[in-house]
């Protein structure tokens, strides 16, 4: 369960302000976040991930109060419990496919590669149809392949929460459907929470809940 209560956040020197009185997302839910640009959708993801700290209020994930975690605890929380998927893939240009998938293990010592991880990577790569692309560098891949690779990276540590920031924004219709199916499939099989920011209203039908920032959850100062 993710719970946000009495949450307020604003960037220093900006008139933007995000205020959420109460928001609860149950485990395993597939949530779409929609709203105009600059309404705070990505900020919401960053607050849940503990990258940003609210000015007031609380972010609770399970029984953990994210705001009160130390920096190290926040990093460990992100690496173990959160899988990030970005619109622009954010793959590391100088690492090949496999190294990109393994990146979380290389930048944080709290998780280790073991036999189970290797099996999991093989399974994911099979499902995502990128097994033959693991030795390629990002600039040698298509947009669809890049995003599937980025999803593998996001899921490699079997996170309980997937935060996807416009994951289909750069993809053609066929790839959009494919990517969303992969994310839904993982979330369903692993009882993971999927929170997806999107501008694509055609993609909303697979989600359990839609949070619309045009409504009361967002306001400008």
């Amino acid at each position: 369960m993710i719970e946000l209560s009495n949450l307020e956040f604003h960037y220093p020197g900006s008139d933007f302000k995000l205020a959420i009185e109460q928001l609860s997302i149950a485990r395993g839910q597939k949530v779409a976040v929609i709203g105009p640009s600059g309404s705070g959708k990505t900020t919401l993801l960053n607050l849940i991930a503990g990258i940003l700290e609210p000015n007031s209020g609380d972010v609770k994930v399970g029984d953990r109060h994210i705001v009160s975690l130390s920096d190290k605890e926040k990093r460990d929380y992100r690496i173990k419990d959160i899988g990030f998927v970005f619109q622009d893939f954010r793959l590391i240009s100088y690492l090949n496919g496999l190294d990109n998938i393994l990146l979380p293990f290389k930048i944080n010592n709290s998780i280790k590669v073991n036999g189970e991880t290797e099996d999991w990577i093989k399974l994911m790569c099979d499902e995502m149809a990128i097994k033959s692309k693991l030795s390629k560098f990002p600039n040698q891949l298509s947009h669809g392949e890049k995003q599937r690779l980025a999803i593998c990276r996001a899921l490699v540590a079997k996170p309980s929460i997937i935060l996807a920031d416009e994951p289909t924004g750069n993809l053609d219709p066929a790839n959009k459907t494919n990517i969303m199916q992969l994310l839904f499939s993982y979330a369903s099989k692993n009882d993971s929470t999927l929170i997806t920011v999107t501008h694509d209203y055609d993609m909303l039908k697979g989600f359990d809940t839609v949070i619309d920032f045009n409504d009361l959850t967002s306001k400008k100062a």
Binding site: R75, I79, R90, Y94, P104, F105, I107, N108
Partner: protein, 392 residues
Amino acid sequence: MIQSLYLGLKYLQYHIYRTLILIGSIGLIIYLPLGLRKLISESERQMMARADSTPLIIGSKGNATDLVINSIYLEQSDIELIAYSKTKKLDKLGFGYSIPLISVFNARDYPIVGTTLDYFNFRGLEIASGRNLQFVGECVIGSHVADELSLAPGDSLVSSPDNFLDLAGSYPLQMKVVGVLNTSNTPDDRAVFTDLKTNWVIMGLGHGHQDMKKVTDFSLILEQDSSNITASAKLFIYNKINGEDLESFHFHGDANTFPISAVIFVPDHHKAATLLRGRYKTEAFKEQILVPSDVVRHLLENIFRIKHLFNTAFILVGLATFLILSLIIALTLRLRKKELYTMFTIGSSKTKTIEIICTELFVIVLGSISLAILLYGVTGYFVEAFIRQFIL
């Protein structure tokens, strides 16, 4: 740490050309002062070694540096010549023995050095092939001359006339190469040695020609009386000395008055050297006596004063490099901002990010230092040859 090294190496490998250029630039900047310092110190050592091995030099008054350079490095310079009799006078003093030198002419850009066999013993020069000098018109060549001109005993080498337009001046003499010296890694390797008489022949002080008493072409004779025959310019002057012509070679005038460039004086002991130098200080001599090591040391002090300028320049270059490197790092970080933020978002710490960047820098610096050490090693290996080729 291993993972940071892995990521750092992957980054450098992906940007291999950029990495190699950086390593090359920094490596050269590190190497330059070290290499130059090595070159300077080795030059000093080699120049001083040659000077230290030559106890005293006596020559005409004038530029001491020119005299020493001419006498020990066999570099030709405009020094006034002295009479050969000076050698005999020095020997008579009983302080040691003297070795006359005359170095005025060239043979295909290598100095022709007229001297006595004592010179070879004094310098420890040994014949590698052939034999030593025996007759007028022969030469023994240094190993470098032999290699460069592809000469061996039995070949011949022609002296280069100092002035083609001077009809009264020296004529080219075809010398017979009778020996090649062992390599000594000194200026002797780059010289052509003859005896003094051969040099005097090149100077025109001695010559060989047709026997005037046996000529059948009377147009060769301008005047003839009971004791003298004056020949015309048509008379054939030999341009080489072989066994048959040797008898016809003769000198006009007193050999004691013939010129030499300088005398290397080898005293029997330190006291003898001091006494001889004392004489030159107190008595009126036309010549000067020099201790080569003093002259060369003074010369090097002046030449290598520029070393201090180099040091300052290197400090400034090092500072400039540091600033440029800082700029490169700053620009690289800016370019990689998104990548580093992605790592942070996923779960990396700032410390880890810094560790990755530092690892990359460490590899670049390590590569640069390795390159500098390699170049320094190569310099050390070739420095002697380089100095012999370009400095001495």
